[in-house]
């Protein structure tokens, strides 16, 4: 039976089906392998961050060095990119040695990563190089780098200089534990969370894939009921027929898996160019373990066989053909209830946000899940409404036939596009939420203008020379010192600024009428981005100059040159303080994390769209074969082929476009309700990439429908009537 199944799978008639199932499985497998390689790369990359956490002495591993070293890590920025800087001071020749360099740099020298070395060499020194005193002793080797573009520098200073740094500690070991398994390590990525996310993505890829194999097998079996029925007539048991159909699908899935391994090579190359974690992966980190290879190579065809077998339980092939079919009962309006309930749940939480994160998770995720379930439940009813309208209002026979056929069995018509609908819903929710949050976090037009150094040492006031140097930078509009107030006022604000200065700054809030000095945040940032009326401080403007400086805020024209020159001056003037940041850089990490999740969502969506498109093509082809005889007779009765094409196109395109509109609408509405409830924010129009993605998915699906049209001519030829 297995041999016969192989014969039928690889025969002329089975090649199209083989190609379709194989192609979809190949796409899914390639993406799945990419995700697994990504999980491995995340772990490998995270391990490369370990040595940078050597200041976390409790996590120290390995033998202690004879001569300890002083160690002070800090995070700097250059044009929005993170630069990890370690200031070190060895206390003797036998100090701890990090990977990628022969020894710790002595005072007056530094080791820089290849990317940073190149950047220093190609950037004017007053924008970057002047921040790093001394000469370059060497280039940090790749064994110490999380990615090829990593900007890392280890600067050798005197012991006194390093000890004065914020967070400086004495170390005698280099940490080699991954940040994700190290208590207290803070440089690196949330490896466990990202691995979990990638795991969810993997399942999200595998699930539609197996669903598709099941659907394709069921449709193929139903389409080929006549030949399976012939076998049943001759005494083949249902189990034998089921084995036959399962072997066909498993063969296709097996070949697809092999092709997927081939397709993985370009996917891997593509992945190595995308900075999912903020850093590109080394290609050598994007590898698969033998266990993963074996699991995918065996698991996917096996999973496909099981999915096919399970799917066939719903197809009953008797020796006379499929079991006598009656028109199923039409779906009823109650099917809209779960969808309405899901949206109502999300709407109910607007203004009633749960106070705990667990409560929020439960409220929003359950709401989104109910909406998704509601869409699947409501789909057949919506298809019925659309098809009835089409049949009623159509002026062409094609519309009448297509409408009546869809109305006769809207569940089947909807099933073909249900995967696409869920993919569009998920991408609309993800794009709506993430796009709005990213827009709110990182891309305000003024977010790159303001550079703030917020941890000035209280005993070191900015000198006239430094202020003059800043003011002389081309593109710097204003330099503002915020003074420190230990009393902090009602709202705990530590900064003081004269109302005259605040008025000159314009965009950073106002004083109360008659006030002389206001309490502000150290970087003048306004809560929720709205310039406020600041609290009045009971001090005189004249007394401010005598108070210690809290922070320095430099307003620039936002040009990279002005920002980086100012930053270099500030870092050189206050080397012990934390480096200054723009608002955009404050928000960059969070925004980047969101964008990474958006990218992962995009991968799931693109793959789901491809798989859903294949399911649609299988369904269209199945529908054509099912009606080859009536269509052939219509052609003999002089109905033009173009008219039949219109019937097929309408049958597929109408549910496709209808559910797309509903899915996108429900997706954005859900996103808006979530944003209103959680962030009191309104949905921001999605970016152009969203429209491109959706258009691509719909174009692909319509293209797949169109690609089945040549089959219409072939299966409805006069020979069909004769042979039947």
């Amino acid at each position: 039976m297995i041999r016969l199944g192989l014969r039928m799978a690889l025969g002329r008639d089975g090649l199209g089906r083989l190609g379709l199932i194989g192609g979809a499985v190949a796409t899914g497998v390639a993406m799945l392998l990419g995700v697994l390689a990504g999980v491995n790369a995340v772990q490998a990359q995270n391990l490369r961050y370990s040595w940078l956490n050597s200041g976390v002495t409790s996590a120290a591993t390995g033998p202690a060095a004879k001569d300890p070293a002083w160690w002070a890590p800090r995070q700097d920025y250059f044009q929005g990119r993170s630069v990890i800087r370690i200031d070190v001071a060895p206390t003797g020749p036998s100090g701890p040695v990090p990977p990628g360099m022969p020894a710790l740099p002595s005072a007056g020298s530094y080791y820089a990563s290849p990317a940073l070395t190149k950047l220093i060499a190609t950037t004017p020194a007053d924008r970057l190089g002047d921040r790093f005193p001394g000469r370059q002793a060497g280039v940090i080797g790749t064994s110490a780098l999380p990615g090829p573009d990593a900007l890392i520098i280890v600067v050798g200073l005197t012991e006194a200089e390093v000890r004065a740094r914020d967070g400086a500690v004495r170390i005698d070991r280099i940490v080699s534990a991954s940040p994700s398994s190290c208590d207290g390590c803070y440089i690196g990525i949330g490896g466990e969370a990202l691995t979990l996310t990638l795991g969810v993505v993997g399942v999200a890829l595998l699930f539609p894939l197996l669903m598709f194999v099941g659907t394709a097998t069921r449709l193929a079996a139903a389409r080929r009921e006549q030949r399976f029925a012939a076998m049943r007539l001759l005494g083949a048991t249902p189990r034998q027929v089921s084995t036959l159909a399962t072997v066909e699908s498993a063969v296709a899935a097996g070949l697809g898996t092999v092709a997927g391994f081939g397709l993985y090579a370009p996917v891997r190359t593509g992945l190595s160019h995308i900075p999912f974690t903020g850093e590109r992966f080394f290609a050598s980190h994007l590898t698969l373990t033998w266990a993963q290879i074996v699991a995918v190579a065996i698991g996917v065809p096996l999973g496909a066989a099981v999915a096919a077998r399970l799917a066939l339980r719903r197809v009953r092939i008797s020796p006379l053909g499929v079991t006598r079919r009656a028109t199923p009962r039409p779906p009823r309006a109650w099917r809209l209830v779960p969808l309405a309930a899901g949206l109502a749940e999300l709407a109910w939480f607007v203004g009633r946000r749960p106070s705990t994160s667990d409560g929020q998770l439960l409220a929003y995720l359950s709401g989104i899940f109910v909406v998704m379930t509601g869409l699947v439940v409501a789909g057949p009813y919506l298809t019925l409404l659309g098809s009835k309208a089409m049949a009623r209002w159509s002026r062409h026979p094609a519309g009448l036939i297509a409408g009546r056929r869809l109305a006769d069995d809207p569940r089947t018509g909807f099933r073909a596009v249900s995967g696409l609908m869920l993919a569009l819903f998920v991408t609309s929710v993800a794009t709506g939420v993430i796009g709005t949050m990213v827009a709110g976090q990182g891309d305000r037009s003024d977010s790159a203008r303001k550079l703030s150094m917020t941890s000035l040492p209280h005993d070191q006031a900015p000198g006239e020379k430094d202020l003059a140097a800043l003011a002389a930078v081309d593109g710097v509009d204003h330099v503002q010192i915020v003074r420190y107030d230990e009393n902090r006022g009602e709202n705990g604000l530590p900064g003081l600024i004269s109302c005259a200065d605040l008025a000159a700054l314009r965009d950073y809030g106002r004083c109360a009428p008659g006030a002389e000095v206001a309490r502000v945040f150290s970087d003048l940032s306004a809560p929720d981005g709205v310039p406020p009326h600041w609290e009045t401080a009971p001090v005189s403007a004249a007394s401010l100059a005598a108070r210690p400086a809290l922070s320095l805020v430099v307003l620039t024209d936002g040009s990279p040159a002005a920002v980086e020159r100012s930053r270099t001056i500030l870092e050189s003037a206050f080397p012990a303080s934390r480096p200054p940041l723009t608002d955009r850089e404050w928000n960059t990490d969070f925004a980047r994390t969101l964008v990474q999740f958006q990218r992962l969502a995009d991968i799931v969506v693109v793959t789901s769209l491809v798989i859903a498109g294949c399911a649609l093509a299988v369904a269209v082809t199945g529908g054509l074969n099912e009606r080859r005889r009536p269509f052939s007779l219509l052609r003999l009765a002089d109905v033009r082929l173009a008219e039949l094409r219109r019937v097929v196109a309408l049958e597929s395109a109408v549910p496709l476009l209808a559910v797309s509109v509903v899915a996108i609408g429900a997706g954005f509405l859900s996103a808006h309700l979530f944003l209103r409830s959680q962030l009191q924010d309104n949905l921001v129009a999605p970016p152009a990439s969203y429209y491109a993605l959706v258009s691509l998915g719909l174009a692909l699906s319509l293209g797949l429908i169109t690609s089945t049209m040549p089959l219409l001519r072939r299966v409805t030829g006069p020979d069909t009537v004769r042979n039947e």
């Binding site: 006549q226 029925a229 001759l234 005494g235």
Partner: protein, 225 residues
């Protein structure tokens, strides 16, 4: 003598529509019986019940004295495979397979090795005048040739009973006559019982006995006592 086939008080409905109402039927070993009647009278349904394709709502069906209507689906499949042969009007050849493979299919399903099954199939095709056509697929055969291939397949397993539902329905009269000559001739040669459903008097004339079905009931003599 035990009847090769016997049906007693067989009733079957499709939903609210009764197809058979207490039908009676019997056929001797080696006997050729034609079931005739107008369209929609239930003659095909009776044949499907006799062949174990459909299970009656009421009544009994016995094959060589053995109850068929109480058998499991797997047992009925095995019975069809090992003891029955079928020739229907159309749609009975598997298009992916060659004529020889189609004839060999019941043998393959019952576990016969492929080489032996194909050899027996070629022999059967040769007996029915289809030499040299074993490698063709169903789409490359004429209607008469396809029907003879179906006949060869029905005979290949040396069945006890052959069920033929409108076996000449899709053929011209001359080709139909040739197919019937072969069916009846071979059956008599092998002592096979044949049950033919037809509305064609010329086909019915090949039978030893005719049974009339009307409104789901057998209205002419049933046969064996």
């Amino acid at each position: 003598m035990t009847a090769a086939l016997r049906a007693e008080r067989v009733s079957l409905s499709f939903g609210d529509t009764p197809a058979l109402r207490g039908a009676e039927f019997a056929a001797d070993p080696g006997e050729i019986v034609a079931i005739i009647g107008p369209s929609g009278s239930g003659k095909s349904t009776l044949l499907h019940c006799l062949a174990g394709i459909l299970v009656p709502d009421e009544g009994e069906i016995r094959v060589d004295g053995q109850r068929l209507d109480t058998m499991s689906e797997a047992d009925r499949s095995a019975l069809r495979r090992d003891r029955f042969g079928f020739v229907f009007q159309f749609g009975q050849l598997v298009p992916e397979l060659t004529a020889a493979e189609n004839v060999a299919l019941p043998l393959l399903l019952s576990g016969t090795r492929r080489g032996e099954a194909v050899k027996r199939a070629e022999k059967e095709l040769s007996r029915l005048g289809l030499d040299g056509l074993g490698g063709r697929r169903s789409g490359e055969l004429s209607g008469g040739q396809a029907q003879r291939v179906a006949l060869a397949r029905a005979l290949a397993g040396s069945p006890r009973v052959i069920f033929a539902d409108e076996p000449t329905g899709s053929l011209d009269s001359l080709t139909g006559e040739q197919v019937m000559d072969l069916l009846v001739g071979t059956a008599r040669e092998q002592g096979t019982t044949v049950v033919i459903v037809t509305h064609d008097a010329r086909v019915a004339a090949y039978a030893d006995r005719e049974v009339m079905v009307r409104d789901g009931r057998v209205t002419s003599p049933v046969g064996l006592s």
